[in-house]
Every structure is written in C-alpha cells, then in structure tokens.
Subunit: 402 residues, 2 copies
C-alpha cells in the first residue's frame, strides 16, 4: 500500500497514489516515515533497494533490482578543474546508462502493481530508454511519446527495448499535461519526469552518498538540471535523513543548466519562486541535449531545494561543457554525456565566484554515460506517427480500446 | 609487496612480480593466501576492493575505486531464451563500460606502484579504453598499440582518455610477445590481456557472485571468451574460495566463442590441452568484434578451467548472437554488446544439447555495454603511426629514451 502524497509548497495531502500534481499546481511527492530509520535498517541488497524501508513500494521486480549502488569515488585528478576536492558519483553506470533507472525502478513496478495497463513516458532520451527497458523486463507494454522530428539515433536507442514509439507532431512540451490526462482516461500510466514514484527512487542516490560519508557529509552536490526531478529527489532524501537525525549538516545543492535554455537559473538570479517558461525565441541549440526543458515541471521545487540547502543555480556554455567533458575523461577517466559534464563546468564557475572553496568536498553527479554519443549506428526504426490532436484516439486504438 | 607468481600447469613459482609467463610457456597468476578467508573479512567498500585481502596490491588509486560491485539480478524474462533460470551479472556497468575495468583497476596501480614509467596495452577495444582511463585518473602516461587499419569509431572511443595511440602495420597478433619484450627494455609496462594483476582483478567478479549466492552457489556461469583472461580470473576465484572452504560445489564454467574464430572451442571438442592458433584462412568476420582472438594467450588455462569445473566451450553464429542481443534488450532490459550476447546464445545451445537443465541457476556475464555500438560519432583523431619493425625505435623516441 502506497504512503500518502504531499505537496512541498502548500502541504496538502492526498491518499490517491495515482495523482502527480497538487491542486495548487506544484508536483507531489510520497511521504516517508523516516523518523525511526537508522543506517542499520538498510537491507543487505547491493543496489538502491537497500533503502526499501524508505521507499513507497515493496520488493520490486525485473530490471529494477539492478538500479543504484553506483560507484562513489574520490577523483583527485579533477580537483584542478573544479577548484575543490572532487568526488564523483557515476550515475551513468546503470542498466540503461543514466540515473533515470532509479526513477523507473520505483515507478514502473509501482504502476504495474496498481493495474494491468501499459506504462509509458514522454521522452526522446534517457527516460524513454529507461522506462522501456524496465517495462520490457516485466513483460509489460510500454508507450513512448517522442517529438515528430526525433533523430534516427535517438530512435535506435529507445527501440532496442521494444516499446511502442509514437511520434507526435505539435507542441512537445504540452505533452506532459496531455500524458497525465491520458493516464486518467486510458489503460496506460504515463510516468512523467517528476512522477512521485520516480522522485522516491531518486532519493536513493542521496542516501548512498550520505551513508558513504557518514558520520560526516559532503559540503555540496553538483548536478545538471532540466525538469527538476533529480534535484527534487535529492532534496526529498536530505529531508528524510534530517527527519531520521542522520544528517545534521546537509550538503548544498548546486544545480547546473545549459545557457541555451536555463529557466531555473534565471528564476534563481531573479529571486523568483517559480521559473517562467521560456519561449522558443529564448532558447537555443545545445550539445547538452538531455537538459534544457524550457518549462520544467518541478522547477519551483528545485528552486526551493536550492534555497533550503544554501546552494545555487548556474548556467554554463557549450564550450565550458565540452571542456569539462574532456577533463572528466582525461583527468578522471570518466566518459560522461555532455549534460553530465555540466556538473563540473558549474562547479568551476562557482569556484571562480568564490562560492566553492579549495577544501570543500563536492560530489559531482554525472547523470548519464557518454557512450551513447560515441560510435555509429544507422538502423531503421519502425514507429507509429500521429498529431497531438489525434493522439488520444490513436493511443486508444493502439491500446485496443474502442 | 606482491605475492609470488605461480604457473597453473607446471607449478613453477616466481618471485619477480613483473613476469607474465612461465618458462614452460603458460601464463602466470598471483598466489593467494586464501585458506583463512571468510566473508566477514571483506572490507566495507562497495566495489571490487571489498576483497582486498585476496588481491595482490594494497589500497588502489584513482578510477580503480570505481571498478566492480556490478548488479547481479534474477532475470526471469530471459529464462525462455536460455532454457534455465537466468541471473545476469551486468559487467557493462563499469566506468569504461566493460569488465576490463576490474583488470585495469588492479594492474594499472600495480604497475604505477612499481615504477615511474608509462603503462600501456595492446588492444583496439575495451581493454584499450579501460587501461587509458585508469592511467588518466592517475596522471600517468599511457601507450596503446592498435592495428594500422583501426576504424575511426574505435579511435574515438580510446582517444577520449588522452593516451598515446600507436598504429602498428604488421602482424597484430605478434604484438603480445613484442609488448612483453618492450616492457623489459623500455620505461613502459604493457599490461597484456592476461597480465597476472589483471587476472587477480577478474577474480572479484566470481567473489561477488558467490558471496551473493552463499551459502548456495550457482550451477553455472556463462561468458564470452577470447584471450582466456576472464575465464582464468573466474577460475582463480573459484580456487581461492575452495581453499577458503567457502565453495563446496563450484559452478560449471561455460565459455562461448564466435563461430568465426573459435580456437578454444575446437580444442575443447578435440580433447586437446592447448588451442592451435588459427590461420587467417580459418577465421572470418563477426559482429562480436570483442572476441575472436585466433591465438589466445590464456587459451590453455581457459580449457583447464572448463575441464576442472565440468563445463564446456561452444561456438555461436552471428545470427544467434543478434537474436540473443535482442532478447537481452526486449526480454531483460539489458543493452549488451554483441560479444556479450554470445553468453545467452551459448546457454541456449547448451540447453538444446541437454547440458543445461530447466532448473539450473545460470549466471550470464555480459562483459560489455552495447551503448558503445549505438549512436553516431565522426570525430578525427590524432595518432602516431609506425611499422612493427620500427616500433621499438619509435616507442623509444616517444618515451624520450635515446
């Protein structure tokens, strides 16, 4: 039985475990009964499920068991570039190569336990792959909504797991809301970027870091941010450990965005509570394709996380990202995707600004492996295609509903 | 201080920790003082270094800390394809995307502790990447010997870590022996595929599997085999645990080769002690580019491992490999490289032959991630080029030796 859902902003509480957003407009997350938790309560399992007492589902299934338990290592070679004492939490070392697997590991079993319908998501990248892989491991149908102009390379990465891929012509950003509506109307559960169960899964990255440092704590964490889901999960994790009395001095959260599309940075700099969605004219191309959501559904919560922990949000350019990506490899031995390299680029900026000191212990969280970007692939991929307007009907047809 | 080196075949013992091969011709491995080891002696570290008491070096450095601790999961979706009860040990979830990191994690620090010279290897694939990454994390120069006709894609994968890449025109297979000679003559340590320290690192995969199953044990392990190094490491691990009284019923070792180049399979079928090197006419192209060494330097030891554990060696075709790769993804949610998929294809064959039963618990070891094969990359890479004959002089020049 799922715990209740709670709003971080207005405090409203919901018993319906299928809700995603509060009536006030903010995203919801699962309550945790963390007060009595101690490190000794962790299960003996190696991955993220060692923290099962703090997660909203029991005993997952399939690929979920492989998520989490990523390496956390001191990476002195990167100290120079970062201007501090660097540790790396290599989230790319996951079954589908990204931290998204922590979210899918909780959300896909959570959805499949609740009903027999399909699962799905709205993504052309890591979240699409992750959701499809977890669904595949459970023999459950998966529907992925992608932009009509998705590249063949992206299609190949997603298609390997066998989901139904639906190309949607129209405003791709609006599909977040569409997906929630479709989940209510049809036998499918779209697991959006800040689905509460995903957020619960993301907490486990924070637990692993803090357990490794205990009884100390890192001074800061640095991660790339797009929709605000991972930052929300790390903050939820911090609050759980504070409730348990296991984290007296939480790490500062530093979020890094791509200068090409950085609504959260702008809101932080302006002292705003919520990001203002960026218009197409206000966004540009970036090599950090995994980040840059112009209208981040958990943007307000990510800002709250930053302010609560005394952190900051910064933007970095593609040049800084490329340089950081090379430093990750040449000085650290890590192959990380461009968005992930932004973490290092961001910390370098913060060091220049004097917000990060030489002797600060900072954990960089490269969110995805760079291997997906290297090598060559020219496979043809079969897809479904539809317009946004016809999506409900097409989906109903695909799902065998009249 | 390193333990002594021992020959698996003639029993000869050497104190010189830089030797690689026995006077009898067989590869050496480090002795282990395992008799008193219990699972309680494992360190609290998360990765392979939890087994430090059984490894030939103390406290590694750099990227080495990130190796090991890969997920081991029950993967029921693959039972059908395999014809048994499948567990997957996902060795692709490593810093450089392959099990090679276990070997480099031991061998690179071992070499750097012994002297100030460069490290290197002979490889155009996963071992090249791994060695380069580990060296990069220690700020140590790395030299990689590659075939003159190496593809741009392979170059990109290796070059990202910043090693010196040397294209060698001539008999690439002969570079194994050349590398050992060069290591003796120049300030460089080439860490070949069955370097004893690499073999020690590979043991840890077996330790992790057996500790997870303890007090039971899997019925069998299945892995792709090329040079015979990984199989040697798993066998060394089995023997350590037997000596410690922790493994009464060791798993059978099933090695899988590509039908295009399968000297070990042929030797197994013929009841031969050693593989006969294959001529170019006897080998063909394969999608499983990570395997297919026509003259495996640890082939004899791999055969001994198979016979000692009651296992077998089988070959699979490219069609079987492709089908298995798709099953890994669509039924298991795993993206594995073609050579890795051979593990599943091999077990399917063995099930058909009746050597593997429905209720056998078999651990598949996909050795490398499939992400390196997907996506696109068109970078240009700067390289050094030389003939084999001129290699010693060129290398001396590159290393600043007169």
């Amino acid at each position: 039985m799922s715990p209740a859902l709670r709003c971080h902003r207005c405090g409203e509480r919901y018993e319906d475990a299928t809700r995603v957003r509060c009536g006030c407009g903010e995203p919801l997350w699962f309550e945790t009964d963390a007060a009595a938790f101690t490190w000794a309560d962790r299960r003996s399992h190696e991955g993220m499920w060692r923290y099962e007492p703090l997660l909203p589902i029991d005993g997952p299934d399939g690929l979920a068991w492989a998520a989490g338990g990523t390496p956390l290592v001191r990476s002195e070679g990167l100290d120079d570039a970062a201007g501090c004492r660097v540790c790396v939490k290599d989230e790319g070392e996951h079954p589908t190569g990204a931290y998204k697997d922590r979210g899918s590991a909780a959300a896909v079993p959570h959805a499949t336990a609740a009903g027999d319908g399909a699962v799905g998501t709205v993504s052309y990248g890591n979240m699409a792959m992750s959701t499809a892989a977890h669904a595949a491991s459970l023999g459950r149908e998966c529907v992925v909504l992608v932009p009509d102009d998705i590249s063949p390379v992206r299609l190949e990465l997603i298609d390997q797991y066998g989901p139904t891929i639906v190309r949607v012509d129209g405003d791709y950003g609006a599909l977040y809301g569409d997906a929630l509506e479709l989940s209510a109307a049809l036998p499918v559960r779209f697991l959006v970027s800040d689905d509460p169960a995903r957020i619960s899964g993301y907490k486990t990255a924070l637990f692993e870091i803090c357990e490794a440092f205990a009884p100390d704590a890192p001074d800061a964490l640095a991660l790339p941010t797009s929709s605000g889901g991972f930052a929300s999960g790390l903050w939820r994790g911090i609050r759980d450990l504070e409730a348990a009395g296991l984290l007296d001095d939480p790490p500062r959260l530093y979020l890094v965005q791509t200068a090409a599309s950085d609504p959260i940075t702008r809101a932080f700099d302006a002292g705003a509570v919520d990001p203002t969605p960026l218009s197409p004219e206000e966004t540009g191309e970036t090599i950090a394709h995994s980040i840059g959501n112009p209208d981040p559904p958990s943007g307000g919560r990510a800002l709250a996380a930053v302010r609560d922990t005394g952190g900051a949000v910064v933007s970095v350019t593609d040049d800084e990202i490329r340089a950081a990506q090379r430093r990750f490899a040449v000085d650290g031995g890590f192959c990380v995707e461009p968005a992930s390299a932004a973490s290092l680029a961001g910390v370098a900026r913060l060091s220049e600004r004097g917000e990060v000191d030489d002797d600060d212990a900072v954990v960089l969280l490269p969110t995805g492996t760079g291997f997906k970007e290297l090598g060559a692939g020219d496979a043809s991929v079969a897809t479904e295609r539809t317009s946004r307007a016809a999506l409900p009907e097409r989906l109903a047809s695909l799902l065998g509903v009249s």
